[in-house]
């Protein structure tokens, strides 16, 4: 069952196109761009990155004094989103794209940070969405990397130890790909985009992420509805028992407004002003 993803489309397909346009736009404007590619197999991919991945891979917490690079401090710019589609041709599995500086050349810096995880699977549906969405927050699952518990932002920290080992976006992207694939067996392809070029570039990405979030809300509602829960008040005025109360409130508001207009118009007339308000009887 592909749920909202009918045939070869899903609710995120428009946003996928917008992201493609966004990347092309930044490249046209000459932003530094690089691309990494990871092999298809899980173990081969893990072999190519410099961090352990999985529960407990980063057992401690990364303190301020242990930080090599900070990513996505809200004052520097931060956003993240995850989108999925049933059309596997839209996602290039194993591709990691970076617009802006990478981690190794940014020691001691606080970088603007945008992270987009694009996922494809022909049988993906709303039931997999919550697990996929949670997978983008890595918790303790990437050695030398920590994401703070912040909503709507992706605020991360790379440790000095990881920095010394050469932790880069290929590693982070590769780790995310493994975690997302582990989150749902239906995932066939994962591609990741990182943007660090500027606060403005991340802000532009954030507006697309906002649309993704809105679309995701619909998917989450559908997911819970299928399990027997309504996240939303699914009411129709036509069948609501309280319709009379709402109608009364509207009448009261209309009367108050009418009286106010009448009073204002009377005051203007009293001041010798001509009333042009034809709506007042």
């Amino acid at each position: 069952m592909s749920g909202l993803g009918e045939g070869s489309t899903s609710v995120f397909d428009d946003s996928l196109e917008k992201i493609a346009g966004y990347i092309a736009g930044l490249c046209e404007r000459g932003r530094p761009y690089r691309e990494y590619r990871l092999p298809p197999g899980r173990e081969d991919a893990l072999h190519e990155i410099v961090a352990k991945v999985g529960p407990g891979a980063n057992p401690g917490i990364i303190l301020r004094s242990d930080t090599f690079v900070e990513l996505g401090n809200p004052s520097a710019g931060s956003c993240a989103c995850l989108l999925w589609t049933n059309d596997c041709s839209r996602v290039d599995d194993g591709r990691i794209r970076v617009i802006g500086s990478d981690v190794p050349e940014s020691a001691g810096k606080s970088l603007a940070f945008g992270q987009v995880v694009m996922v494809a699977g022909s049988s993906l549906g709303p039931e997999q969405h919550p697990s996929l969405e949670q997978a983008q927050y890595v918790a303790d699952q990437v050695e030398g990397y920590m994401v703070k518990t912040a909503s709507r932002n992706m605020w991360g920290r790379v440790s000095k130890e990881a920095g010394a080992k050469g932790f880069d976006f290929k590693t982070l992207g590769g780790a995310l790909r493994v975690l997302v694939k582990d989150a749902a067996a239906e995932v066939e392809a994962v591609e990741v985009l990182f943007v660090t070029s500027s606060k403005e570039d991340v802000a532009a990405l954030a507006s697309i992420a906002g649309k993704v979030r809105q679309a995701a809300e619909t998917v989450v509602k559908e997911h819970w509805k299928a399990r027997g829960y309504d996240l939303d008040c699914d009411l129709s005025c036509a069948s609501c028992d309280d319709k009379g109360v709402c109608d009364d409130i509207r009448d009261v508001v209309a009367t108050i407004k009418k009286n106010l207009r009448r009073r204002e118009s009377g005051e203007r007339a009293g001041n010798g002003e001509r009333s042009d308000d034809k709506s007042v009887a």
Partner: protein, 436 residues
């Protein structure tokens, strides 16, 4: 009663509360250790804030009654002292007269099915035991009980002529909703300027918001420390105080920032030394308490959890950190950020105002980030909105493979479900789930 007698009576309970905290302050001043100094600093801020209100009443200076989620940075920027209408249940619930006051509320006929956090202020208002402010900033969310309190205000003789404004919270949480709520906050400022004769200076607001951002950044940093095993602090230090300091007294004050600096320092020391929340009891169960703390009986229950079970409250609803920092670049961005923080990020409002997805998504994130072993939804009798989502929370926990307990109690009145009953339910749960 003449005006002065009314004034004096309205301050009776408020002064008793101030004196109760001043007593606790004196006691904590005698204790040594950085964590106890932390308590002292908090109590000092609290006592000063209460004293300001007392001074305003006695000198006929403007002050307001409001809530934590009414963008209190704006009150600070307008130099407007304020107190929270539901202050006692949130902050003074440890006070020795709490049960008597709840009983008093019952005796004047307030329904016992109404949230105790709302019943208490109704009782204080109806009994003339609450300072009558210059203006009221009301609250139309997260529950139907809150507007009940406003209805009482409109009918009470001493309060009915006090101007009241409540920002209208939209149901959704998208960009349009935040912009709408930002306009509502601007109208709130217009209202306050009209009725208190205090003006909002945008440069001052910028500086308050910047200070508020420093405070929240430190809080965020501190919260990361609670991921450590063992967690550096449990129920006693951290979340509830962080919430109170950042939102309930003088939001955006350097005093708050200093408190958070010390909190962070205390936490970092403990993490480096590998010390847990309780030096005498090893951490065995990492708990998410997904609600307000049981303030009415906190001292009878929380130490027991640590001592009997090694169960440490690693995270709770009010300690969770979903906050966005305020973008101070323009006037518009400040109001937008404040709107988002107060409409979407504030505890309880975040969960119960709009759609219910945060109940699930927040639990998932906290369980993962803080290595939570089990989730307790206390099921406070006033949180009927949350009761409707207990199934979602339970299913979420099932998906995560984390045990979930729904108790059913009153966080402020221990007569509803006795502390012994709660302990028994929790013990059965821990035993059945093979925890601890």
């Amino acid at each position: 009663m003449d005006k002065n007698a009314i004034k004096e009576r309205s301050l009776e309970r408020y002064k008793a509360e101030r004196d109760w905290f001043a007593f606790l302050l004196e006691a904590s001043d005698l204790m040594v250790g950085p964590e106890m100094q932390l308590q002292s600093k908090l109590l000092k801020i609290l006592v000063e804030s209460k004293q300001k209100v007392v001074d305003c009443v006695e000198n006929d200076d403007p002050f307001i009654a409001a809530y934590f989620c009414n963008a209190p940075e704006l009150f600070n920027a307008m130099d407007l002292p304020w107190f929270m209408l539901m202050e006692t249940p949130f902050l003074g619930a440890s006070a020795p007269y709490l049960i008597d006051d709840i009983q008093g509320a019952e005796e004047i006929g307030i329904g016992t099915d109404l949230c105790t956090a709302i019943r208490l202020p109704i009782y204080y208002i109806e009994s003339g035991l609450m300072p009558v402010p210059t203006a009221v900033i009301g609250l139309l969310s997260p529950c139907d009980g809150a507007p009940m309190l406003h209805q009482v205000l409109r009918h009470n003789k001493a309060w009915r002529n006090i101007p009241i404004y409540a920002a209208d919270p939209p149901y959704s949480s998208d960009d349009r909703a935040i912009k709408y709520y930002a306009r509502e906050l601007r109208s709130m400022v217009d209202f306050l300027e009209e009725h208190t004769e205090r003006k909002l200076d945008m440069d001052r607001l910028k500086s308050v918001c910047e200070e508020s951002n420093r405070t929240y950044s430190l809080w965020q940093e501190y919260n990361e420390l609670r991921r450590a095993k063992p967690s550096p602090h449990g129920w006693e230090i951290g979340g509830p105080q962080a919430f109170a300091i950042s939102q309930c007294f003088i939001a955006g004050s350097p005093k708050c920032t200093q408190w958070f600096e010390q909190l962070l320092e205390c936490g970092e020391i403990r993490v480096r030394e590998g010390r847990g929340a309780n030096d005498n009891h090893e951490e065995k169960i990492r708990l998410l308490w997904f609600d307000i703390m049981p303030y009415g009986w906190i001292f009878e229950f929380m130490p027991w959890l640590e001592e009997e079970w090694g169960a440490v409250i690693v995270m709770d609803m009010f300690a969770n950190f979903p906050y966005t920092l305020v973008d101070t670049s323009t006037e518009e961005s400040m109001f937008y950020s404040l709107a988002k923080r107060n409409l979407i990020d504030s505890p309880m409002i975040r969960q119960a105002r709009g759609t219910a997805e945060n109940f699930s998504a927040d639990i998932s994130r906290m369980v993962k980030d803080y290595h939570i072993d089990c989730v307790i939804w206390p099921g406070h009798m006033g949180h009927k909105d949350g009761a409707a989502t207990a199934g979602i929370m339970r299913d979420t926990c099932r998906d995560l493979g984390v045990p979930f307990l729904h108790i059913g109690l009153d966080l402020f009145d221990k007569r509803y479900t006795t502390v012994d009953e709660v302990k028994s339910k929790v013990s059965q749960f821990f035993t059945a789930m093979d925890l601890g």
